[in-house]
């Protein structure tokens, strides 16, 4: 937090401080979130500032974390759960699918579930086994959930505040690869960002690059490289994966006629498929070329020596851009 600049993880921390200060109902819980401030330090200082009643170091159990949050949220608290890595979120699945996402619907609005489940996602930091997952598609398929992935400090701050405010459950996925990259100036003004809009990071007329999470950065780099060749790429951070802001995405592709989707998750049945399918439904006649998906292959994330092979790289994005640009 030197010189008013913040990394993404510091922005998360700032938002948590802000949310806890503004609303006594916000309670943070998870493994190592208290004294240790989280293994990535996302919850640093919260225990000191808000006490052990609102910053709970829990027993080690992810099913429990999600289940507790459902009960707390139904009581009007706003629990913010940290799952230590996305690879350990699966035990929380039953409570997310069968309860958190439906409590409001099941009770015709009598009870609701304003909880946030935060977790670091993605590969690329030479982490141990099971620490490199991008399984956002599993959540984006579940009606009643929101799924949000910030890719900059400012978006992390504004989206997390909005997620905590939101009256419904939000799965909030924080790309570990970006946690400590590029500190950026940030005003701690409590401003929320909308939870169902994407962010156009760069306007362009020749093609649309759609991405989220850490891949946004390779997409921006690819756009930079294209610009040097006189090609004007629009880059959109999809950011909110459920619900999807298809109107903005479609408008962009309608304009450019060409689209490349970039994500870190394995290709099959990922969120990229939904975006592609939906775009075709909306803009088929405007498309100059088939939409390309630049993704990980359908394999588990390899251990770190080969993880760069798994991650879509700038060259891969550029190759896909060439394909859509050259398509006759």
């Amino acid at each position: 937090m030197s010189n008013g600049k913040y990394t993404l993880v510091e922005a998360v921390n700032l938002a948590l401080h802000r949310a806890m200060r503004d609303d006594d109902n916000v309670v943070v819980l998870g493994e190592d979130v208290g004294v240790n401030g989280g293994v990535f330090r996302a919850t640093l200082g919260l225990r000191e500032a808000f006490g052990f009643k609102r910053v709970l170091d829990t027993p080690l159990a992810e099913t429990m974390l999600a289940g507790l949050a459902v009960g707390m949220a139904a009581q009007g608290l706003r629990p913010v759960v940290e799952i230590q890595f996305m690879g350990f979120i699966y035990a929380a699945m039953e409570h997310l699918v069968s309860h958190a996402s439906r409590l409001r619907n099941r009770t015709r609005g009598r009870l609701s579930c304003p909880m946030v489940l935060r977790t670091p996602m993605g590969a690329g930091i030479r982490a141990p086994e099971h620490h490199s997952e991008s399984t956002e598609a599993l959540f984006a398929h579940v009606p009643g959930l929101r799924v949000v992935v910030p890719s900059s400090p400012a978006r992390a701050y504004g989206l997390l505040l909005a997620a905590i405010d939101d009256p419904d459950p939000v799965v909030f996925l924080e790309p570990t690869r970006l946690y400590r990259m590029n500190p950026q100036p940030l005003l701690d003004d409590g401003r929320r960002l909308p939870l169902d809009s994407c962010f156009t990071l760069r306007e362009g007329r020749d093609l649309t690059l759609l991405s989220w999470g850490a891949s946004v950065h390779e997409s921006l780099q690819a756009a930079g490289a294209l610009a040097e060749r006189g090609i004007d790429a629009e880059v959109i951070d999809v950011a909110c994966l459920k619900p999807l802001d298809l109107d903005t995405l479609a408008a962009s592709v309608r304009k450019t006629g060409r689209c490349v989707i970039v994500h870190e998750a394995p290709k099959s049945c990922a969120v990229g498929a939904e975006i592609a399918a939906s775009l075709y439904e909306r803009v088929l006649l405007d498309l100059q070329a088939p939409i390309q998906r630049v993704t990980a292959p359908d394999i588990p994330p390899p251990l770190y020596r080969l993880e760069q092979l798994y991650l879509p790289g700038v060259e891969d994005i550029l190759a896909a851009c060439e394909t859509v640009l050259d398509y006759a």
Binding site: V27, K53, R54, L56, T58, P59, A61, T63, M64, A66, G67, L68, A69, V70, G71, M72, A73, A74, Q75, G76, L77, P79, E94, H95, S98, H99, R104, N105, R106, T107, R108, G109, R110, L111, S112, P143, G144, D166, P167, D168, D196, P243, L244, D245, L246, D247
Partner: protein, 362 residues
């Protein structure tokens, strides 16, 4: 290893006291109120099964033979407490103010059955079908009480089968670690569908699951409402006053099928069921009350007649409820249906338009 966990029973199956009764057991007003409620529950329960048999509701999970547990619990919980029930909780739900027609709506395939109108139940959870998951919700509710410093208790119920699932065990553990104001009531009715109690767990009691979590556990005869009431009262007081959670294993028997979709004769003997009928809670309390001279055939007949009227009225209300507006399927998925998903509502409207004439929905 022999663990001398407490086991409480006051009344033998024939209604005769087998131990010195607790002080409150001479409150015959209370006891007849409990009795009336058990009878009402049973009649309503039988009616629900009958409604399923004629296709007016869907699958239903009868509470037959297990009324003492829920009636004791429902009569002891305070207004400010929160119930986090499972699907075999007609007895306690009725005492929490959940209306009979709501229970019928729920099993009749209508979400309004979980939108309890009575304020008493306003914070109670709906029936929980995914086994044992409710135990964690109750711990979350209790955590909220604790965070806010409120003297309230979260009470959760489950069956013997549920005690094998991680959710239940994680819930015990966090309840113990945090000394949460929560009471776990296990209706050990000896069967989890076709799986007998002995296959669920190698321990002689389920109550001893409390030990690994550092919480208090004990057993009661779940067919003896005096025992259940007495020990539950202690459990609730204890939890309410910050003295920690309790696991109460109530030994009962599921006299009916698991649900109306089940046929229990496939996996258990008629003899076993006949035996179990000897132990059932309604007759037991009745015998006690008759012996005390506070109950008789006349009162019984009057009670039955009253109950029938009440049940019948509920069935009429249920049948008058009609179908929810079709758009309701979107209304409560999010607080506000996201604009980004507007297309889906259009899709549904078109679908409705196409299906006009109503041959596909009731």
């Amino acid at each position: 290893m022999s663990l001398d966990l407490p086991y409480t029973r006051y009344l033998a199956p024939d209604g005769r006291p087998v131990a010195e009764l607790p002080g409150w057991a001479d409150d015959f007003n209370l006891l007849t109120r409990l009795y009336r409620q058990m009878v009402l529950t049973r009649l309503f329960d039988l009616k629900a099964v009958a409604l399923q048999r004629t296709g007016r509701i869907g699958t239903y999970a009868p509470t037959l033979g297990q009324e003492a547990i829920g009636v004791a619990l429902g009569s002891l919980m305070q207004r400010e407490d929160v119930l986090v029930p499972y699907y075999r909780d007609t007895a306690v739900q009725l005492l929490r103010g959940v209306r009979m027609e709501e229970i019928l709506l729920y099993w009749g395939g209508d979400e309004r059955g979980s939108d309890f109108v009575e304020p008493l139940a306003a914070q109670d959870f709906p029936i929980c079908v995914p086994i044992a998951t409710q135990a964690l919700h109750a711990c979350g509710v209790a955590t909220a009480f604790k965070v806010r410093g409120e003297h309230r208790v979260a009470v959760t119920t489950c069956g013997d089968g549920a005690t094998s699932k991680g959710d239940f065990l994680e819930a015990l553990n966090v309840a113990g670690a945090w000394q949460l104001p929560v009471v776990f009531v296990v209706n050990n009715n000896q069967w989890a569908i076709s799986v007998p109690r002995r296959i669920q767990c190698g321990a002689p009691t389920l109550a001893q699951k409390a030990l690994g979590a550092g919480i208090h556990g004990e057993q009661v005869d779940g067919n003896d409402i005096l025992a259940v009431h007495d020990r539950l009262r202690h459990a609730l007081e204890r939890a309410r006053h910050g003295k920690g959670p309790v696991l109460l294993e109530c030994l009962s028997y599921r006299l009916g099928d698991h649900t109306t979709a089940d046929d229990a004769t496939r996996y258990r003997s008629a003899e076993e069921v006949r035996q179990a009928w000897q132990e059932e809670p309604v007759k037991r309390l009745q015998a006690f009350l008759v012996a005390q001279g506070v109950w008789d055939e006349g009162r019984e007949q009057a009670l039955l007649a009253d109950c029938q009227v009440e049940v019948q009225r509920a069935v009429e209300n249920f049948e008058a409820a009609g179908v929810q507006p079709l758009g309701s399927v979107f209304e409560h998925v999010y607080a506000r249906w996201p604009a980004a998903l507007a297309e889906q509502r259009e899709m549904l409207e078109e679908r409705l338009a196409r299906r006009q004439g109503g041959e596909h929905h009731e």
